[in-house]
């Protein structure tokens, strides 16, 4: 065997773990999922009839799916300003010469390493009728309902959103902090020498320099929020009366509780399309910003 041929084998050998796993658990499912989405496959019996785009049309006529889509969008739009606002605010505070900087970074980040199921369990308790929220409200004289905040359709979704802001901001805080640290100190010095004011520095240097991080973080947060599942599964199961139903949770229920996997696959592909769109928009914005 020539050296070149041998090299080919070596390279193939080194790549093989990925090639195998990707072929079986990546490429094949992606294609199979699309095919399934065009059929009435249930997942229970093997019959699979081609139904064309019916599942996709059905999704946009399905009230629950539309509700789930709306809820997910409300969730995304409602949480982003707060999650990122708090994260950015704290990152800017931390970006001074503060003692125990690392302690703060770790402390704020801590909730982000805890699983969503654990966090949801904690917050079920916080939102319960005799929990922290009601206790505080009662102590300042607000009359409260004797029901969990998660049991009421009008407050369930927003309660989960607040919890998610708490659970997520620490992660974005780290990203913003890293972004701030990457801004060269010379820029600030030069501005100061030229006599720029603090607000000028903030708007002319810090924010423009932070833009790539900002776009990235917004895209990341949006993509993650579109996939929320654990908190819904643990806290409300989509209820009361679908007020906390989200795309992924509905997909889960449809595919693995009601066994309509064809329809579930169509939802998965709609989700994929949304996520790809967000990614493209983010890439586009980043590029236009630099050119």
């Amino acid at each position: 065997m020539t050296y070149k041929n041998k090299q080919k084998w070596v390279i193939f050998l080194f790549l093989s773990p990925w090639l195998i796993i990707f072929a079986i658990f990546g490429a094949y499912p992606i294609i199979y999922s699309f095919i399934t989405s065009l059929t009435d496959y249930s997942g229970l019996n093997p019959s699979m009839n081609f139904v064309g785009l019916d599942n996709y049309i059905r999704a946009f006529q399905d009230e629950v799916f539309l509700k789930a889509l709306t809820n997910t969008i409300i969730f995304v739009i409602g949480t982003i300003p707060f999650t990122l606002g708090i994260a950015l605010f704290l990152a800017i505070l931390l970006n001074n010469k503060i003692p125990l900087q690392n302690l703060f970074k770790s402390g704020f980040f801590l909730p982000s390493v805890i699983s969503m199921v654990v966090i949801s369990t904690m917050w079920i308790y916080i939102y319960s009728s005799s929990g922290l929220v009601n206790t505080i409200l009662k102590s300042i004289g607000v009359t409260v309902q004797d029901r969990s905040w998660l049991a009421r359709p009008e407050s369930a979704l927003i309660s989960i959103m607040i919890m998610d802001v708490w659970a997520a901001f620490g992660y974005y805080l780290l990203l913003f902090f890293a972004g701030l640290q990457n801004i060269p100190a010379q820029l600030y010095e030069a501005a100061r020498i030229d006599g720029a004011s603090k607000t000028q520095i903030a708007f002319k240097i810090t924010i423009p320099m932070l833009k790539p991080t900002l776009f990235f973080v917004i895209a990341l947060n949006t993509i993650r929020s579109f996939q929320i599942f654990s908190e819904i599964y643990t806290m409300t199961g989509g209820g009361p009366s679908n007020s906390t139903q989200t795309i992924v949770h509905y997909l889960y229920q449809t595919s693995f509780r009601k066994f309509q996997m064809g329809y579930g696959s169509a939802m998965a592909y709609i989700l994929l399309a949304i996520i790809l769109l967000i990614t493209l928009v983010q890439k586009r914005m980043l590029r236009s910003d630099f050119v």
Binding site: Q7, K8, V10, I11, F14, L15, P17, W18, I21, F22, I24, F25, G26, Y28, P29, I30, S33, T36, G43, L90, L93, L94, N96, I98, K105, S106, G107, F109, P111, V113, I114, S115, M116, V117, V118, I119, S120, T121, M122, I124, Y125, S128, L132, G170, L174, A178, F216, I223, F229, Y233, T234, G237, V248, L251, Y252, F256, G264, S265, A268, L271
Partner: protein
């Protein structure tokens, strides 16, 4: 000088904010050590019997054996009504039986009641479990005071080794009267004081809800995935970082784009596949799909690429094979990156709910997250045990985080910024 002052103010502000942001965690832990109720209404004990209502109303709560001569009485220790026993002189053992309905007596620290009894009478406590086994305490305690007084009997659960203390149906107060002691007495306000703080919630959750098993499953799956990731991602990354081959950039951009694909898109075919090859409810179903991750390859490639090429070259000249270069040079040099990747994939796998929920249905194969999610759905309002369960599920990750915070944080930052 002014700057230092503002920094001090910032420090205090941050400290306060940090405290607030960690309140849910404190709350969880504190609630897990209370016996019953919730943190703002801790149930420190339970009044078993108070005799304010007629005996008919007590029927569901108690019964008396050893005599028939007892009645509600107006004489008491200032607490309204009491129960008066006036047995025949031949009846020397009188039992006041309190129904427990399957409660765990491990919770109880002591039993206390108001009593007016003749000195010399003795008390023994008996426990009857759901299987109708009864056991009395070895030693009898004597009453010494005259007139109304409070009497306290400490419960030592280890004494009741022949019954199942977790599911007791009755607690029996057995009054024994020696021959020379008159056997009439008054009793009121029978109260059980719970242990507080207590770790019993952890014990119950750990033993009765199989959290030990869930932790084992999660550990096994996470550790195997981490090992797989470290070896396989580095292997693939080595090829991408050090080798030139046709289609390299195309393959790598495929890897990058698969990072964006949400697991929900591929879960249905994976489920069908696992069902067809009989892997549902197995460890390999949870392990194999995550053995190589696009993020791991990407992350390791970044690191290996910036390692000095001279070392490889020298080894190559000395006749080392690619495998030797990889294992003897690249892997040892990549330790910092591997630590970051390992810890982060551990956390990712440990915390995942979606895939285990779908690929595993048998209880004994559940991971911690599946176990906890189902536990919380079933046990709402049982706050102490719910919080104990979440502490058990969350603590391993918190410990891992406290040990490896540097690697974890740099993993978050490097992974995101380079990407």
């Amino acid at each position: 000088m002014r700057e230092r002052k503002t920094n001090k103010v910032l420090f205090v502000i941050l400290l306060v904010l940090l405290f607030f942001s960690l309140i849910p965690l404190f709350l969880t832990f504190l609630t897990s050590v209370i016996p019953d109720g919730d943190l703002f209404h801790i149930t420190q004990g339970k009044t078993f019997l108070d005799f304010e209502k007629g005996l008919m109303f007590q029927k569901a709560k108690m019964k008396v054996t050893g005599t028939k001569d007892y009645k509600q009485s107006d004489i008491s220790n200032g607490n309204g009504k009491s129960l008066y026993f006036n047995p025949k002189s031949s009846e020397r053992d009188i039992e006041l039986v309190v129904f427990m309905l399957g409660k765990d007596i491990n919770l109880i620290n002591y039993i206390e009641f108001d009593i007016d009894i003749n000195p010399g009478a003795k008390l023994r406590i008996g426990v009857k479990d759901m299987n109708d086994n009864t056991q009395y305490s070895e030693k009898a305690v004597s009453f010494e005071k005259e007139g109304w007084h409070k009497f306290r009997f400490n419960i030592d659960t280890s004494e009741f080794d022949k019954v199942d203390p977790k599911n007791t149906s009755q607690i029996i107060l057995k009054f024994e009267f020696p021959e020379d002691v008159p056997n009439s007495f008054y009793i009121d306000e029978v109260f059980a004081k719970y242990h507080f703080p207590t770790f019993i919630n952890f014990k119950t959750v750990w033993e009765e809800n199989d959290f030990a098993r869930y932790i084992f499953n999660s550990s096994l799956v996470s550790i195997t995935v981490v090992l797989g990731n470290l070896i396989f991602c580095s292997m693939v990354a080595y090829a991408f970082a050090r080798k030139q081959f046709r289609g390299k950039e195309v393959l790598f951009s495929i890897i990058l784009s698969t990072m964006m694909i949400p697991p929900q898109v591929i879960v249905i075919p994976i489920f069908i596949l696992m069902k067809n090859i009989g892997w549902i409810d197995t460890y390999q179903a949870l392990i194999v799909p995550s053995l190589v991750t696009p993020f791991g390859i990407f992350f390791m490639r970044q690191y290996i690429e910036q390692l000095p090429l001279e070392l490889d070259k020298a080894a190559f000249v000395d006749g080392a094979t690619d495998w030797q270069i990889f294992t003897k040079i690249i892997l040892p040099l990549s330790k910092p990156a591997m630590a970051v990747l390992g810890i982060n994939s551990f956390i990712g796998v440990w915390n995942d709910l979606f895939m285990p929920l779908i690929l595993v249905s048998k209880h004994e194969m559940w991971t911690v997250q599946v176990g906890l999610a189902n536990f919380s759905q079933l046990n709402q309002v049982q706050w102490p045990s719910m919080m104990a369960a979440s502490t058990i599920a969350g603590l391993p990750i918190i410990i891992v985080f406290l040990i490896f915070q540097k690697q974890i944080i740099s993993g978050v930052v490097d992974g995101a910024v380079k990407y």
